[in-house]
């Protein structure tokens, strides 16, 4: 018997606070264990968790296979980089600006792409991402292929400095928590239900009076904005913005995160980002050829566990 796909996604409830507390306690714990380096890894996971969740919104919940999502991460990163190059270092200006730039790009690209379907949609989203990639490569003023280094991290004031890895981690954690909370409300709202409904049967939603294009476009813009935020975080984390952030292999990697974590599941983004990045850390320490293992794992997931890690969790709860 097939499984019912529930349109409602239960969060962790009260356990959320426990999780948050555990995550917040990570930096001092790592420091105590002498594993300070991993604070940066954890921050990177949080940044990608936001990015993967944003893709999950349109791909997992919306059913839109966008193969150019990395472009919005890159645009956000470059906004921060370009602003800093021009002397604007405040995070309060640069980070919202990053989100705005990415949202604007998503608005334009979405308006055009969402008129297509199927493989054409995949190709057009890929094409637009490629255009931004080549544009970034050609901008010699901002480093071209080598990219633009960031002389410092964004300034947040309030007596705290992002230069301190632990502080940066906590800022990223706060943002991540906000994004997840917002995402949970969104996918369980009428908007979220209709978006999922359109994924299952677009014609039916339209026939019932729902405006599918508007729904999808709004989700697309929101996803772009969130990816831009992720880009701002990554720019700060890497201390560098390069065109590679927008390379189609990065878009592919995001899709891998979503599928491994569970497309259309609330925690799909974070689970996938954590799984992929931790796996990379682990495997690259073992062998130079870790991509072989990653490819094999991805293949197995696609073939035998298409609902990803979140799906396995659900099966375990049923058993």
């Amino acid at each position: 018997m097939a499984e019912i796909r529930s349109l409602h996604h239960r969060g962790l409830g009260r356990r959320t606070w426990v999780l948050l507390a555990v995550l917040a306690a990570l930096p001092p714990l790592l420091q105590a264990a002498g594993l300070e380096f991993y604070t940066v890894v954890a921050t990177r996971i949080l940044a990608f968790a936001i990015a993967a969740s944003s893709l999950n919104l349109i791909l997992g919940f919306g059913g839109l296979v966008s193969f150019g999502h990395a472009a919005y991460i890159g645009l956000g990163a470059y906004t921060v980089g370009v602003l800093m190059d021009a002397g604007v270092t405040s995070a309060w200006i640069a980070w919202p600006a990053a989100m705005a730039v990415s949202a604007l790009a998503a608005a334009v690209i979405g308006a055009i792409s969402l008129r297509t379907r199927g493989v054409y949609f995949i190709m057009i989203t890929l094409a637009f991402a490629q255009m931004f990639y080549f544009l970034a490569v050609s901008l010699k003023a901002y480093g071209g292929d080598d990219g633009l280094p960031l002389p410092q991290r964004s300034v947040i004031g309030l007596g705290a400095e992002l230069k301190d890895d632990a502080t940066f981690y906590w800022v990223a954690l706060a943002l991540f928590a906000t994004v997840m909370a917002g995402l949970q409300r969104l996918v369980n709202s009428p908007f979220g239900w209709l978006l999922q409904g359109a994924r299952e049967n677009e014609v039916r939603v339209e026939a019932a009076g729902g405006r599918v294009f508007a729904l999808r476009w709004q989700a697309f813009v929101l996803a772009g904005a969130l990816a831009g935020l992720s880009g701002a975080l990554l720019a700060n984390l890497n201390g560098l913005v390069t065109p590679h952030l927008m390379h189609w292999s990065q878009s592919g990697q995001l899709m891998v995160m979503v599928i491994i974590g569970g497309a259309g599941a609330l925690w799909g983004g974070p689970l996938g980002a954590a799984a992929l990045l931790l796996l990379e850390e682990l495997l690259s320490g073992v062998t130079l050829h870790w991509q072989l293992g990653l490819g094999a794992l991805l293949l197995l997931v696609v073939l035998y566990a298409p609902r990803g890690l979140a799906g396995l969790g659900r099966k375990a709860r049923r058993a």
Binding site: M1, L186, N188, S189, N201, G209, G210
Partner: protein
């Protein structure tokens, strides 16, 4: 309530709809019949808004809706159910109806409130469940319902849009005698509620039992429009059907 005036739709050199005209009165159950290839589906698509006619007009409730899209017409009360069931297969029957209720709502859907806790939407969905007789199956997977039950859900989804005129595209298609009987009862109940119904059907038995008036579509044009008795006797209609089906029904 609905006026179709001289509608024309061409696909290349073929005129699928060739100057079709008829009207539907408020509160009546109007059946559209015609031999295969007459262009019934194309006509239905144009009335519902899925296809744009090349010429002619569609007037619904006094307003010209010819250039309006599906969503607009649905909001105005012109709703259609599909010939091939179009459901949200992996969702429960209840969720199917809730989705339809949410879709119909005017204004942008909320990003913030919980859909599961939306009492109004769920109440409406439950009322629809009762109306189409699916209350017992509310929590079942829509994709696993029997064919007849799926068609009932299909009607339910259309009703969720609060139609003033319900366009039913072959509601009895593929049904056995029990299922057909249940669907006919449902349609009679809807008619008794005062809903205006436009039915496209091949099942002549049901058509002659249910319809207040019948229009016959042949070659993309309406060749006759009138009471069942008048249609049965109409020479052109008899010719179009070669008399067989009408004889069997009378």
């Amino acid at each position: 309530m609905l006026e179709v005036k001289n509608l024309v739709k061409r696909f290349g050199a073929l005129a699928a709809t060739d100057g079709a005209s008829f009207d539907v009165q408020p509160g009546e159950l109007h059946a559209l019949i015609g031999p295969n290839g007459a262009g019934k589906t194309t006509l239905i698509h144009q009335i519902s808004g899925a296809l744009q006619p090349d010429a002619g007009a569609i007037v619904f409730d006094g307003h010209d809706v010819t250039r309006q899209g599906v969503a607009h017409r649905v909001q105005a009360g012109l709703v259609r159910s599909f010939q091939i069931t179009s459901l949200f297969k992996p969702c429960s029957v209840r969720d199917n109806l809730v989705l339809a209720v949410l879709a119909r709502r005017e204004g942008a859907p909320s990003w913030w409130r919980s859909a599961r806790a939306d009492a109004t939407a769920h109440a409406e969905a439950d009322a629809l469940l009762v109306r189409v007789g699916l209350r017992a199956l509310a929590d079942r997977l829509a994709g696993e319902l029997a064919h007849g039950e799926q068609r009932q859900l299909e009607v339910g989804l259309a009703l969720a849009a609060r139609p003033r005129l319900l366009l039913l595209d072959e509601p009895l298609a593929g049904m056995g005698p029990d299922e057909s009987a249940r669907m006919v009862e449902l349609l009679q109940a809807l008619k008794a509620e005062g809903l205006t119904l436009l039915l496209v059907e091949h099942d002549m038995d049901a058509v002659f039992r249910l319809a207040d008036r019948i229009s016959t579509l042949v070659g993309g044009r309406v060749i006759a429009s009138g009471s069942p008795a008048a249609i049965r006797e109409h020479p052109e209609v008899r010719r179009a059907y070669l008399g067989d089906e009408l004889e069997a029904a009378s």
